[in-house]
Amino acid sequence: MKQTKAFLILLCMVCVGIAFITIEKYKPTPLKFIIPKGWPKPAFDFKRNPLTQEGFELGKKLFYDERLSKDSTISCASCHQQFSAFATFDHPFSHGYNNSFTTRNAPALQNLAWQKEFMWDGGINHLEVQPITPIVAENEMAETLENVILKLKRDTAYLRMFKAAFGDATINTQRMNKALNQFMVMLVSSNSKYDRVMRGEDTFNLPQRLGYEIFKQKCASCHKEPFFTDFTYRNNGMPLDATINDIGRMRITGNKNDSLKFKVPSLRNVDITYPYGHDGRFFTLDNVFEHYRKNMQPIHTTDSLLKNKLYLSNFQIGQVTAFLFTLTDSGFLKNPKFAAPAYSKPTILHQH
């Protein structure tokens, strides 16, 4: 009896010891998320998905990994390019699998931690399920989740990185998406000239200042500071393109009153996210201004603020444009932390 007791006690000690060692081993480095001064509390649930250096690095590797697509040619970063604030540079539509095209303009990825719904129509209700959409879409990455997870499981680098990020080497959709989310919520753009002026560290020149005054009067009710969007869905008078037939928010709500409403896009880094509009129909900011003052076609769902169009003189357009250029955050666009990891192939950018 004594012997057994002693044995049991010993066994217990060994077990506790093993548990202690494994707990000891999983010690990811917490990553601090800094809320810029004066900004509201993020919507992202940091308790559900605590940011760590390991999770962020894994997320970055996934974001830049072409193997997430069917023929291993397209990564998230193929369409979301850092130098374009993670929009697709100079393309109304992005290239997807097998010479296909998206039917919407890829938006910039920035300040996602404050966003509750995603896509132009807000159809996605949680950032954690968002990566599934491009992975399985036939005109984006055209892959199945099963295959993606299989590919990741076959790669020892991933097994190691999932273990470092989450404590064990389990790889599943949830963990992949959590890691991608960690990378994406760190994409904070809050250090443009505008931000520095607001913090009292810099000053606008005259056209920028005049432009800011006009902006606050005519644009800020929708393009609200500090995100330059109020995250609502509105129709700004862009007529339906019958070849695409995109009804916007109505596709999600089924409500006729939401026809042709799209999420108010942020204007941060707007200088380098052209073309503009949900379908990229405007190639330049001037095209957008012409739309607001002349070409727009108000219908019953067009925002009441725009029922009589939005007139700006050429002078004013010059000033507002000067102001909009102060929203470019070159530190964000060039931050090496967000660039392709050194050990993966550089993202292939097609030229044409």
Binding site: I132, T133, N172, Q174, I252
Partner: protein
């Protein structure tokens, strides 16, 4: 002394194995009227004499709960979300980890509760990998019935019912409560529950394949289908 301990351990192990065999099992049997469902090969007829084959039949059972000991006790199945798929027979055998008797009700949510629809990526049977998830308009597909029918006006005569929706005016999750009157002396080995696909077409609403061959989003049609199919279950045998 040592021998005794080993013997004791051996016995308790045997005991565990033996009692495991006695645990109550719920067996789901998929039918089309009085015929047992065969994927792909069989042609069936619905109440409107529309011919159809079935390629896929899947649904979520959430929060399965059983009242036993004549309603005095409640047992909650340890797996909160269980996806049943015709093509995977293991999903049609739900082994409870307890032998139960004098069962009065079996209840569950047919679908997925609203909270899980808005809480990010889930795991296990709720992994979006299972194909029961809308990616362009976040939300779970609670039940899927797909096949072909000459009555369908959709491409290649497919018909495809994907039912889901969690928002206030679109909620398609339905509570199912099955009553039993069973007075057995010893624990039940098996309860066979039949799910009849013909119930998708009639009941609260008449749904003809010729009128509505496709349901791929939450809304009125999805809720009409849910109101029909929530009555597809009947308890057939208790052993």
């Amino acid at each position: 002394m040592r021998k005794n301990v080993t013997l004791y351990m051996l016995f308790s192990l045997l005991h565990v194995i033996a009692s495991a065999q006695n645990n109550t099992v719920i067996k789901l049997v998929h039918k089309v009227g009085d015929k047992t469902l065969q994927l792909h090969t069989e042609t069936y007829f619905n109440q409107f004499n529309e011919p159809f084959t079935v390629h896929k039949f899947k649904y979520y059972i959430t929060g399965l709960q059983i009242e036993y000991e004549n309603g005095k006790k409640k047992y909650t199945f340890e797996k909160p979300y269980h996806l049943v798929a015709e093509e995977d027979s293991t999903t049609k055998m739900i082994t409870l980890n307890k032998p139960l008797k004098n069962i009065t009700t079996i209840s569950f949510l047919l679908g997925v509760d609203s909270l899980r629809n808005v809480s990010g990526a889930q795991t296990d049977d709720l992994d979006p990998m299972k194909g029961m998830f809308w990616t362009w308009n976040t939300g779970y597909i609670y039940a899927k019935l797909e096949g072909q029918s000459d009555s369908s006006n959709a491409a290649a005569h497919y018909f495809s019912y994907h039912v889901g929706g969690y928002k206030t005016n679109e909620n398609a999750a339905r509570k199912v409560v099955l009553k039993i009157d069973e007075k057995s002396q010893s624990p039940i080995n098996e309860i066979a529950i039949e799910a009849d696909i013909l119930k998708w077409f009639v009941g609260a609403n008449e749904i003809k394949i010729s009128n509505a061959a496709v349901c791929h989003q939450p809304g009125v049609l999805a809720m009409m289908l849910a109101d029909n199919y929530k009555n597809m279950f009947t308890i057939k045998a208790i052993k």
